[in-house]
Subunit: 348 residues, 2 copies
């Protein structure tokens, strides 16, 4: 099974990216500083769009840059691109084949904006369309569901922001990322989550929700997408802030909710929501490094104790990937070739 | 039932807004032109966030302005706001009580950015935090689910963009909006949709998806939210482009999908998806003014034949509102006071 291998490879993939592409990240950061952009624009689809959601928060909190997620159809279908001359435009695409992502980069470049591509293929149209390219070096991803290319995309974004801010504390934290990932995955080998049977409980779940806030809004979306792609179950992803006003109405006893609750600025609000969900007798799957958050959890999905919040999406998603894979296996689905999915997306 | 009244009031609400606030829109448009922003930033939550999604496309296609949807927690929880000095920041809030929306406006204003609020209460904190305020004049909205304030928000955005572009064709089209809305709602009184029993078919639907693209990406999200809020059913909203790569895996025979398919640039792609969904034996609810789109539809939910695509979200949502309301009634739910919802949202 390729999916399992590719999930397991992630600490090594992140290590390689950090070791071999730090200079590229520094070079791009210099170009961004010299350009002095008014904002960042990001074009991406699917899993890469969830990486863009992470970038939205990280550029905001660390580099004081607002991020506009591009609306590719404005470039392709409506053929009336916005003015990106004062922006740095990032194109994120695993395969680098996304025609709409390429078009956004080409439009931005022709307007005089600065363009940067993040892909896993340096020879791809998206990589070639930009002024700069940060290659993911993740190796071939054979399983259709993206795992190692997703965490590599997040890491590439963290590298860019770290190089831009150039604070030693950030550099040090980032260097520990492969160890955090490895520590987290080890729970599936010898830790409390080593028995894959614990996911049998969810064999017949027919709906679910995933919740995160701030940096981990991205994680809520990406877990949702993995479970949907691999297990064919309808679910929704929410910010904790949006969920409590409205969508919480769907919760009934037993409703499964995956909550991403790492220690940090977003934790108090998430803990409060966990209590509300417990009162409504929801079934709670909690990804955290905070004991209070585990109080109502069916199974603790542990993150390293000292994991900084800004890096937590890169590690928290590992739990989501393994959960989605194991649930797909328990349901008897083909995990490497899920129905309805193609590896390369070429939206026009 | 207030909800039904408030849905029916919409043509009059839009007419009042257009008649009484065109000068305000012109004045704000002049200020935006003088400011010459690098981009637009929008802060909003829930239903208002769906209005922001509409703005994202409309400012892009018509005014060549990129739109960044603000991440309020960057301002509130992380207390590290992005630099909005070169942006026009819009705050959209029905009640005007959203503390995080107010904070984004206050941060942008203190940085020297231009700020504009769109609310239904000129004395509210959000209205008072901005340089300019465009009041919705929608009257009290008593039912908890937002309907007339949503279409009024979309209209306010269309008014701003029309004033900014100042093209006579846009002004003329916009003036016809109340008539388009009224024509659409009339189908529920004497047209093919007059019998509320047709929604009984969906009494026990346990999942659903909503799909739109471009301008109507907003409509897909807003229909989804109304059904979720009023009927407590888990559903997902997608762009047609994202749905076909991945999430389409959840579709099995009988799976209900609401597809927003007005004539325009996005139609060819949506028609292609409709055919794929039909092949998978999905149950299709189609909102359109194109006969081909209705070919596989259970019930045609008709839009006016000459409705311009850029205004279609303001009219297409009416079908979604009525569908969600009628389904809630058929399911025996209290439509004016759905569980889990409060009218005023004050996220910090």
């Amino acid at each position: 099974m390729y999916l399992e291998q590719e999930i397991a490879e992630q600490p090594a993939v992140l290590q390689r990216l950090l070791s071999e592409q730090s200079e590229t990240a520094r070079q791009i950061a210099r170009a961004i500083r010299d350009f002095n952009p008014a904002f960042i624009s990001i074009a991406a689809r699917g899993t890469s769009d969830n990486a863009a959601r992470y970038a939205q928060y990280l550029f905001g909190t660390h580099a004081q840059l607002a991020v506009a997620l591009a609306t590719p159809s404005v470039h392709t279908l409506y053929q009336s691109p916005p003015n990106l001359a004062r922006a740095v435009t990032l194109g994120i695409s695993q395969s680098g084949q996304g025609e709409d992502v390429r078009q956004v980069l080409a439009d931005a470049r022709s307007q005089g904006g600065l363009t940067v591509a993040i892909t896993n293929d340096p020879e791809s149209p998206v990589a070639l369309a930009a002024d700069y390219h940060l290659p993911l070096l993740a190796g071939a991803e054979i399983s259709i569901a993206a795992t190692k290319t997703y965490t590599a995309q997040l890491t590439a974004i963290a590298m860019l922001v770290t190089a831009l801010v150039d604070d030693p504390a950030l550099h040090q934290a980032l260097a520990k990322l492969p160890a955090y990932a490895s520590q987290t995955l080890s729970q599936f080998i010898s830790g409390p989550l080593h028995d894959p049977l614990w996911v049998e409980r969810y064999r017949y779940m027919s709906e679910f929700a995933t919740i995160g806030r701030g940096y981990n809004y991205s994680t809520a979306f990406e877990i949702n997408l993995k479970v949907k792609e691999l297990c064919y179950i309808t679910g929704d992803a929410y910010s904790e802030a949006d969920f409590r006003h409205g969508p919480i109405a769907v919760i009934h006893p037993g409703f499964p909710v995956v909550v991403v609750a790492p220690a940090g600025k977003t934790l108090p609000g998430v803990l409060d929501l966990l209590e509300k969900l417990h009162d409504k007798k929801a079934e709670l799957l909690v990804i955290s490094n905070d004991e209070t958050a585990f109080k109502y959890a069916q199974n603790p999905m542990r993150l390293p104790a000292d994991l900084p919040e800004w890096l937590s999406p890169i590690v928290a998603i590992l739990h989501g990937q393994v959960f989605a894979m194991r649930l797909a296996i328990v349901k008897g689905h083909e995990v490497d070739q899920p129905r309805g999915l193609t590896k390369v997306t070429v939206t026009r």
